[in-house]
């Protein structure tokens, strides 16, 4: 097993483990100052003119590296990017100087209406060209490369002609962007569409990975009664995703990793213990990756 020859080393420790920053956790964080690799925030939450959100994030940024995660740019839309929104993103990036900037392979705006969700797109050469143009535009506006996150999906499209992994690889090749490997999304989509998440991982453009996301899902069923997992970010990381994480780290080597927990927020100690678990899991998997494999 060879580790990916990484093209997107982030400007923080490869071993860094972080959590999504929530205002509810601000006091325990500044009071206890835990050792933590980084914090990630949703860029749109800091696009107000000013006020306490900016002050809190300034205080976090003084103590920790930051990852800026956009949720509203609608990169996966056929429509032109919202220039005003792109300028807002660039302004937030300029103010807080994050170590990484990421967005989603998804769309959310159509005909001026914002749908406040990450919506899926077909994978074709036409959509590939459009998404690549959008990423060029984002990277030009930011003056840096960004990471593009693989989505959780509940439906696929009849018109798709490319595998998601090939689509992401080709975007990274054309634009030079990195990829954010969300392993909960891998597991959710693999379950929802009936493929093997380990096969997906093997096909993934691992050389372009700059960050990993871990999160919890919830469970539902579709019209046929088949298992339908929802990317809910409302619970601890599941065992199946921890196993996938161990495999990803064995293939990638140490990679900055984020615990995403956005809904039904846990107490700060609970969230921190999830980060500690990721640190231990990364340590174990990197040690395994560097050991010779028996019988090979």
């Amino acid at each position: 097993m060879t580790k990916a020859n990484r093209r997107h080393p982030p400007s923080l420790n490869l071993q860094a483990v972080g959590v999504g920053f929530k205002a509810e956790h601000f006091d325990p964080i500044v009071e206890t100052r835990p050792e933590l690799g980084f914090f990630e925030v949703h860029a749109e939450n800091y696009m107000g003119a000013g006020g306490p959100p900016h002050r809190r994030l300034d205080a976090i940024r003084e103590r920790y590296p930051l990852s800026l995660h956009g949720v509203g740019l609608s990169i996966g839309s056929p429509e032109p990017l919202d220039k005003t929104h792109l300028q807002r993103l660039a302004a937030v990036a300029k103010r807080f100087e994050p170590a990484m900037v990421s967005e989603h392979l998804a769309w959310s705006t159509h005909d001026g209406a914002f749908f406040n969700d990450l919506l899926p797109l077909p994978y074709t050469y036409e959509t590939l060209a459009r998404v690549s143009d959008h990423i060029d535009e984002v990277q030009n506006a930011l003056g840096r490369t960004m990471l593009l996150e693989n989505p959780s999906t509940y439906v696929v499209f009849a018109e798709s002609t490319l595998a998601e992994t090939d689509f992401l690889r080709e975007i990274a090749r054309r634009t030079g962007c990195g990829v954010l490997l969300d392993l909960n999304n891998v597991f959710v989509s693999a379950t929802n569409h009936g493929y093997d998440p380990y096969r997906y991982l093997a096909d993934f453009p691992l050389q372009a990975v700059g960050e990993i996301h871990l999160a919890g899902y919830s469970e539902d069923a579709d019209d046929a009664g088949l298992s339908l997992l929802i990317d809910a970010h409302n619970s601890p990381v599941r065992d199946a995703v921890w196993s996938l994480y161990a495999e990803a780290i064995r293939r990638l080597g140490a990679t900055p990793t984020l615990i995403e927990w956005d809904n039904d927020l846990p107490s700060w100690p609970t969230l921190l213990s999830e980060a500690r678990r990721a640190e231990r899991a990364m340590g174990v998997a990197t040690a395994q990756a560097s050991e010779p494999v028996d019988g090979v």
Partner: protein, 259 residues
């Protein structure tokens, strides 16, 4: 199929709860799947309703969770955000909520709902307003007596003046603790001033005549013009001006030209 055709069909089906899932979407059995598509529809609705619940917590307590959720769902289905910056979403909810409640047959008497919701919206606006220094009473004291009558002020970016036909500020204040809120002492209109001189948003109940005085100053009147408009020999413009400055509502003081 062209990319635009796919997303247009998807967006149209998202907006219409009765619509079938878009024809080219596929579940595991190779056909459109209504429950799968409804995850997206549900995500959109839950996200928007959650944004309104977070922006209007007191309004929600006043009408109860069920009625609030019904109002929020109706609002969200008819008004999609026009920006990915959700901080601004729902600023026109107070009028919508008032009309919604008024349209209910045998609905509860919620005359104060629109006023309380307006206060909550102004609170959020103040919270996210631009950071800016505030003028102090010390700045005021630097003016020479002949600069006072013609002085003007610039309002701070976070400051909001509100006039209510109901005791909305008292009702809002009584809901700020977890306990059962006390009914207001007197059912009468109130005026309020919201400020955020630094990190903390504060809501002040204004004494009689203060709203008109502050409103005129905000609109560019001089101190003398604003004081005369109060049309009350007992009115103390100096005291009210100091009160405004102390509240953090004033960004800067522009000295009048000595006459």
């Amino acid at each position: 199929m062209a990319f635009e055709t796919t997303t247009s069909a998807f967006a149209a089906a998202l907006a219409d709860p009765a619509a079938s899932p878009p024809a080219t979407t596929r579940g595991r059995l190779g056909a459109p799947d209504a429950r799968r598509f409804s995850v997206y529809r549900n995500n959109v609705a839950v996200g928007l309703i959650g944004a309104l619940e977070a922006r209007y917590p007191v309004s929600r307590r006043i009408v109860g969770d069920d009625l609030f959720r019904a109002m929020a769902r109706a609002f969200a289905s008819s008004r999609k955000p026009r920006s990915p910056v959700m901080i601004a979403y729902g600023e026109d909810f107070p009028e919508f909520a008032a009309a919604y409640v008024a349209s209910l047959e045998a609905g509860p008497n919620l005359a104060h709902l629109a006023d309380v919701a307006r206060l909550e919206n102004a609170w959020v606006e103040a919270y996210h307003a631009e950071d800016a220094p505030v003028a102090t009473v010390g700045d005021l004291s630097k003016l020479s007596p002949d600069q006072l009558p013609g002085m003007r002020i610039e309002f701070h970016a976070a400051a909001r003046l509100l006039r209510f036909i109901t005791p909305a500020a008292s009702i809002w204040a009584s809901h700020q603790c977890g306990a059962e809120p006390a009914a207001p002492d007197r059912w009468a209109g109130e005026d309020a001033l919201i400020t955020r001189p630094d990190c903390d948003v504060s809501v002040r109940l204004l004494p009689p005549l203060a709203y008109g005085f502050a409103w005129r100053l905000r609109e560019g009147a001089t101190l003398v013009e604003a004081a005369l408009a109060a049309d009350d020999p007992e009115f103390d413009p100096g005291g009210h001006l100091v009160g405004l400055v102390e509240s953090g509502a004033v960004a800067s003081i522009i000295p009048g030209s000595p006459s």
